[in-house]
């Protein structure tokens, strides 16, 4: 006690400074967290990530048995229904080229219009209409993607899922195999889950 008492006058000055330091530290910590949140963008759950993934999925697919001459001059990523991707997708495709073709975003209201796309993102807002939309696409060589629940069950090809606060995707190879689309094995390696078999596995 004696010692604490005697040391008090010496501490009275810096007390004021300590409060300021704590305030600064807290502010710095907040700022750091903000920066960390911003930098964690690739691992986020938002549509910004999904927009990027849509573009990247295009880079890992190819069509088997389809002559290059039969392809369109642009790589079209279509959005069916209410568009949740908004400007994220528009920003993502700027100046992007896939397979030598400039990437374009096409927003469509009718599933039939999706037959001309390379990738078709079906809005989760389509809800119960999704099976109909997929039926409309049929066996056309269009990679169907959505983040709607049970999308794969309806016969969709790729479904965005959330795991550990990260966007991942599940693949339905059965649906993919009905078309000429071939997904790279690398892509399948990073899929959260793969249902169905690869064309090689299907062959006896």
């Amino acid at each position: 006690m004696q010692m604490a008492h005697s040391s008090k006058p010496a501490c009275s000055g810096p007390d004021h400074w300590a409060t300021a330091a704590v305030c600064c530290a807290v502010a710095a910590l907040l700022a750091l967290l903000a920066v960390a949140a911003a930098s964690a963008q690739p691992g986020g759950t938002g549509y910004d990530v999904k927009a990027g993934y849509l573009l990247d999925l295009g880079r890992f697919l190819r069509l088997s048995g389809v002559p290059a001459a039969d392809r369109r001059s642009t790589f079209d990523i279509c959005v069916l229904g209410h568009d949740p991707l908004g400007h994220f997708l528009d920003d993502a495709v700027v100046n992007q080229v896939i397979d030598g073709r400039p990437v374009r975003v096409v927003r469509i209201g009718d599933a039939n219009a999706g037959k001309g796309c390379d990738i078709l993102f079906i809005s989760p807002d389509e809800g119960d209409g999704i099976p109909l939309d997929l039926d409309a696409i049929g066996k056309t060589d269009v990679l169907t993607v959505s983040d709607a629940a049970d999308f794969l069950k309806y016969g969709g090809m790729i479904q965005f899922v959330e795991e550990d606060n990260r966007v991942r995707f599940a693949v339905n190879l059965n649906a993919v195999n009905r078309t000429h689309i071939v997904l790279s094995s690398e892509l399948l390696r990073v899929a959260s889950s793969v249902t169905g078999k690869t064309p090689q596995e299907e062959q006896p």
């Binding site: 690739p42 990247d56 995707f169 690398e186 892509l187």
Partner: protein, 488 residues
């Protein structure tokens, strides 16, 4: 260097052998090691580059779709690579995406980052090599993979090389030792024997010795053979020389004997001639004397003149006989050397000459103290001849000047008799000392022509020299040396 000098040839050869082998091996070791390390390192970097490429390719989707687990599983395949200790995949922003370390090794100290646009790079630190390779997918920079390999293999290789080289060097040393004994047998032993033979030959001058021929037929054998041939030649030459010398000696002996015999005969002949001539001559001289002193015994003036000429002729012949006997004794009389004073001798001779011819006006000087060790009788003949000559050849000058003296020369003491008489032509100076050779006519200056020849013989027998200087009408000087001089 001295140590090197003293060694035997075998030792030198062994040392040379070891030095060359050692140096060659060391150089080879260094060269091979350097090359091996260089290749190993190059291979390692090449292998790392490939592995980084594969890892990068396999990590593309993981990076694109942010699947760290997939990247991790890609990196775990590096377990099969024996040299990779640590690996990391970084995102484009430099944050760590996946990490691998062999056997849970801690992160190494070697840290480096590729420059923004650098596709490939490697850094070395001690035994570690860090290689970085950028992961690019369709022109997009996705990040980079860094692989760290341990190069302890290099050090291991260097150690192995060193060990192997040391082993070979030891082996070479052993071989060199064995080789030395062979060298000794093949080269050194024959050389040593050759050197020994040469030494014996040089020391004992015995050229009949031969060096043993080595069994081999190499240059060494050739050397020994040549050496032996040389010895044989020397021996041959020696023999020839010996024979020639013997023959020469034999011939000299024979000639000497012949010559001595001839000389003796000649001496005996001339002595007997001279001696036997004396009797009849004295008889003639006596008759002439009686005729001259017989009063007026019916002799005409003409007869008297003839008798006078006869008396003069017998006198001249008596002188000639005396001279001949002198010459003979100058050659045959054994030398009896005693200490004599030439000055006193010269003085008495000159006094006698003056007494015999009191009308002559002569000035003579004799230097004192010409003491020598010589045969007194013979030296008297020499001085008598020289002084009498001087007296004779100054007979036509008004005042004769005769000098006996001596001077010191490089060759020793030179005694001389000088006069101011008729002199002689120096071109014929060598003729003066030959018997019966005269430079003046009998009518001018009478004489026998034997006196100087006798003087020459006597001086020569004493080991000295005699010579003459002079000019016509300017006098003459006769000089001689006598090697044995009485000191003081």
């Amino acid at each position: 260097m001295k140590l090197w000098d003293r060694r035997t040839i075998a030792g030198k050869l062994m040392r040379l052998n070891l030095q060359v082998t050692g140096t060659a091996l060391l150089l080879a070791y260094l060269a091979f090691l350097a090359y091996d390390l260089y290749t190993l390192r190059k291979d390692l970097i090449s292998s790392l580059t490939t592995e980084a490429g594969i890892v990068g390719e396999n990590s593309v989707t993981a990076l694109v779709f942010d699947d760290q687990q997939a990247a991790q599983s890609t990196l775990s395949a590096l377990d099969h690579s024996p040299h990779i200790r640590w690996a990391v995949i970084e995102r484009a922003d430099g944050s760590v995406f996946a990490r691998y370390s062999s056997n849970g090794q801690p992160q190494p100290e070697l840290q480096a980052t590729l420059a923004p646009r650098q596709p490939l790079g490697y850094w070395a630190n001690g035994t570690n090599i860090l290689l970085g390779r950028r992961i690019v997918f369709q022109g997009r920079n996705l990040g980079a993979v860094y692989l760290l390999a341990e190069t302890s293999e290099l050090a291991h290789r260097a150690r192995q090389f060193g060990l192997l080289s040391a082993l070979i060097l030891t082996l070479c040393s052993v071989i060199a030792v064995f080789a030395t004994s062979t060298i000794r047998h093949l080269i050194t032993d024959p050389l040593t024997e050759l050197a020994g033979t040469a030494q014996v030959v040089s020391r004992e001058k015995d050229y009949s010795i031969r060096a043993p021929l080595p069994k081999s037929s190499d240059e060494l054998a050739l050397l020994v053979q040549s050496f032996n041939e040389m010895l044989e030649q020397i021996q041959e030459r020696d023999r020839a020389l010996e024979e020639s010398r013997n023959a020469l000696e034999q011939r000299v002996r024979e000639r000497t004997t012949e010559l001595t015999e001839a000389n003796k005969e000649l001496e005996a002949f001339s002595y007997s001639v001279a001696h036997d001539l004396r009797g009849p001559l004295q008889h003639i001289a006596n008759i002439a004397f009686l005729l001259q002193n017989s009063g007026d015994a019916g002799l005409s003036d003409e007869h008297r003149t003839l008798i006078e000429k006869m008396a003069a002729g017998t006198d001249g012949m008596a002188v000639l006989i005396d001279d001949l006997l002198n010459l003979s004794s100058a050659t045959t009389t054994p030398l009896r050397r005693t200490a004599i004073d030439l000055s006193l001798m010269a003085e008495s001779i000159l006094e006698r000459l003056q007494a015999d011819d009191p009308a002559r006006r002569a000035q003579w000087t004799v230097a004192r103290g010409a003491r020598v060790i010589a045969d007194e009788g013979l030296m008297h003949i020499v001085l008598e001849n020289l002084l009498r000559n001087a007296w004779k050849y100054t007979s036509k000058v008004d005042v004769a000047e005769i000098e006996f003296g001596f001077s010191e020369d490089d060759a020793g003491t030179v005694y001389f008799v000088r006069d101011n008489g008729a002199g002689f032509n120096p071109r014929y100076a060598d003729r003066l000392f030959r018997p019966f050779q005269r430079l003046h006519s009998q009518s001018e200056f009478p004489g026998t022509g034997i006196g100087l020849a006798t003087a020459l013989r006597i001086v020569t027998r004493h080991g000295g020299k005699i010579w003459a200087d002079g000019q016509v009408d300017r006098g003459a000087a006769f000089c001689f040396t006598l090697p044995y001089v009485v000191e003081g």
